[in-house]
Each structure stands twice: as C-alpha cells, then as structure tokens.
Symmetry: C2
Subunit: 230 residues, 2 copies
DNA sequence: TACACGATTTGTACGGCGTACACTATGGGC
DNA sequence: GCCCATAGTGTACGCCGTACAAATCGTGTA
C-alpha cells in the first residue's frame, strides 16, 4: 500500500497542489467533454493546468487512473435505495438499477471504461451484498440469491454496454432524438430478408430507452421471483 | 461504398498481396496473442510482414479495422442453430447463446472490442431477426418478442463483458482454475461487513462459469416465457 | 505493340502518446 | 539551521496512427 490510498497526516516536502479526488474530477471532466478515447495522462494534466508528470504523484499509471474513475462513477449512483427498509425487494432493485443506468448514461465515456476494468472495488462489493439481501428477501435461497445477483448486474451492465457502444459523440443524446435517429437508420433494412425486424422497427428503435430497460429488468425479476421457495 | 467491400473483378495496377480477410485474420491473431490493447495498424502489419501503410489499402483506419474484426468474431458463432427447425425455441436460443459466449471467451480481446463498437453489422441483424422468430414461437407478441430479443442480447453481452473485463492476460484461463483463483481472492473480503458475500463465496467465484450463464439465461427465458399470450 | 495511368506498396515524416530520469524547490524532523 | 524526503518540471525515448510523395506494377487504350 503506497500513498495512493490515504495521505497519512502531513508529509515532508512541498505541499501538494492537488489530490486524487481532483485528479478524478478532471478525468471525469475530460471524459464527459471528449469521450473515452480522449482520456489520457496528458489531457488530465492539461485540465488541471499542470505538467503531465505531476499526475504520477497521485496515480500509478493510466490504467490505475481508469480504475479509480470507474470506482468513482459507480459510487455516483444512489446505493442507499438498495437497502431502503421501506421498499419491497423489487422496488429496491429496480430503483437502484434505473439510477445506475442513468448515472452511466450521464457519463458514457466512463461507462465504456467500465467494460474494460474489473468491477472489484468496494462499491461493487457493497452493491453485490445488498442485491443478495434483496433477493433473499424475495424468497430465494442464498445460492440462488448469489446467482441472481450476477444476473441483475449483467442486465444493467449489458444494457449500458449496448447503449453506449453506439453513442457517436461524448454525450448521450436526448432519448427521443436518439430513438428517432435509430428509427430512421432502421428503415434501411431489407424488408424481405428481415421481415420481423422491419415490422418491429419502432420497438427496436426504442431499445435504448428507459422503458425498454424497465421491461427487461421486469422480465428478469419475474424469472428470479419464480425461483423463490415455499 | 469504396473498394473495401468487394474487389470488383480485376483492377489496374499491381496485384494485391493481401485481402481484407487476411488482414482480419492477422488482427485476430494479434488479439489472441496479446490482448485488446496490442491491436494496432503496426502490429497487424508486422503480423503480415508488410509495412504499416499497406493496411490502409484494405481498411479505412484503425476504428474500421476494429469494426470488421467485431463483425468477424460475431460470425464465428453458429447462427444456424438459431433457426434449426427441429429444436424448440428455448433450445435454439440457449444453444446459440452458449455458442456465442464460448466464441467470445475464446477471443477475449475481440470481445472487449465488441463493447466499444456498435453492433450494427449484418450478423447482428440476422441474429436479431432469428431471436425474434424464436420468441414469437414462444408465444410472445411481436412487440414483446422484439423487447425480449434485446434482453437476450443484453444477457449474453453483459455476461461476457463482466467476464472478459477481469481476465488478466490475453486468453481466458481454464474455467476451474479461473473459479479457483476467484475463490481465493474472495476470501479476503470482510466477513463482518459483507456476510452474505462471504457465505456465498463458492457461488460468486463460479459467476464466470458456464453453469452460471446457463442458470442466468434460464431465468431470463422463464421471465420471457411468462409473457406469452394465450 | 507501346504507352499512359490507376492501383499498390514503400520511405519518410509529423504530431501525439505514456512514462522514465535527472533536476530544482519546498518545508517538516532532528 | 541543516538534512533530506517529497512535489513538480524539463527533457527525452520509444511507441502510436497516419498523411504525403515517390517507386513499381500491370491493365486498358491508342
């Protein structure tokens, strides 16, 4: 464990002009402005008005910076609702999942980073624990609750992955405009070869919408609820 | 449309020493040997024994190369089972999904490319059409079949995304070794703060296994089957 | 049959990247 | 009041994608 975790009181030498949090802030700003492929040591340094090498005081290398950014963006979603005692298990899971989806859609650059870094941070562990508790409340055995937890995470991450993969710029467009653009693009498909795709064009265009996500998650939770014992 | 699609008969000038397929082969070889971050114009040129600039004859730029690689790897899975008339809808979907998962696990570098490129190729469209047909066979309305198609894709892509994100090297380790390594890493969690996680360690370690994937897909298909009418 | 011209590959070069290394300046511990 | 660990900079190296001009090849046309 080096200094990258917690500055233990006061050190020797000059005072630090930054800290890890400000570096992560700058990285998120870069990501939100330019997209995933614009994040770099040099761009973050420029954002902070500092020479590139200064970044290495706070972060091991670029890969470590990406991991910290992923952890940060995961922590932006409201984890508390997952443990809210007044809500039923379905509401807790649904509200958290929707919130996480919105958070990741708000930072698509950081979201695509998420697909290339393992989710082993403290936030991910906490979320897993709370998801398991919710699914045990649903009546699942501990084993099935653990399996179901994975499935819920898969559903959120998979949906976000498909969504952000086709976002052209650094930000997600408004939902209606996005769906309209997809609708237009889908009108080019071969109606003879892909009749069902052609017929379902409005539904497929709306795959990236929140309603589709709610529908998907609802089907998943139905499938999981059917595994409840007693 | 430029020459990048199909060499129309014979052209002027020297004979081409390569074609797009060989470039994609080389790219896949690079990916399988070194992982996603080693794919580049220069690395595939070296793989082919050619100067980097020659690649640009067959591919617009690096991003285009990545798209073609993604399309190739998607086409490696057996799409035919999805339309097999002798199988029920559940078997068709399950067999295809398992096959696609295996294909992507066999090429984790290409799989992580998949997470950053839109799935709008002909293979993806065909798979969507066949998935919709299968779900209509299950008794879903066309609208629900379209929505369910998205969910099935989400399930496969999400599971693969979580899996390959934590693969350290360029290849996926054997499943039992992988699960064992995860089991060992999970023993470091705080049993007091994360009691359910600690108790379910064997199940969580096996999240990356094919059995967990079958279980997840089963729950999803149950949830979808519950939406059948009549 | 000879030549012109388009297609292909190469040589070279530019700007940008991550980051290693030597250096300067800062300020707490003895 | 000095020592020295530390923060930040200057500089440089080896990569990267790729633009551009030159060389080579071979078909279509004169």
């Amino acid at each position: 464990m080096s200094d990258h975790v917690n500055p233990p009181a006061r050190r020797r030498g000059p005072v630090r002009s930054l800290d890890v949090e400000r570096v992560v802030d700058a990285a998120l700003a870069v990501l939100d402005r330019g997209g995933a492929h614009t994040l770099g040591i040099r761009s973050v340094a420029a954002q902070l008005g500092v020479r590139p090498n200064a970044i290495y005081t706070y972060v091991e290398d670029l890969a470590a910076l990406e991991r910290v950014v992923v952890e940060r963006v995961l922590s932006l979603a409201d984890v508390a609702v997952l443990g809210a005692p007044t809500l039923g298990w379905r509401e807790r899971i649904t509200e958290y999942a929707i919130g996480l989806r919105r958070t990741l859609h708000a930072h698509p650059g950081a979201a695509s980073l998420l697909m290339s870094a393992p989710m082993d941070g403290v936030t991910a562990l906490t979320v897993g624990e709370l998801l398991m508790a919710a699914l045990e409340d649903a009546g699942l055995s501990p084993e099935d609750a653990a399996r179901g937890t994975y499935l819920v995470i898969v559903t959120v991450i998979g949906a976000v992955a498909l969504d952000v993969a086709e976002v052209p710029g650094p930000t997600v467009p408004p939902e209606d405009a996005w769906v309209a653009a997809r609708h237009e693009a889908l009108e080019a498909v071969d109606h003879a070869a892909l009749p069902r795709t052609a017929a379902a064009t409005p539904v497929i265009a709306a795959w990236v919408g929140e309603a589709q996500f709610r529908w998907s998650l609802g089907a998943v939770l139905d499938g999981l609820g059917g595994r409840a014992r007693a």
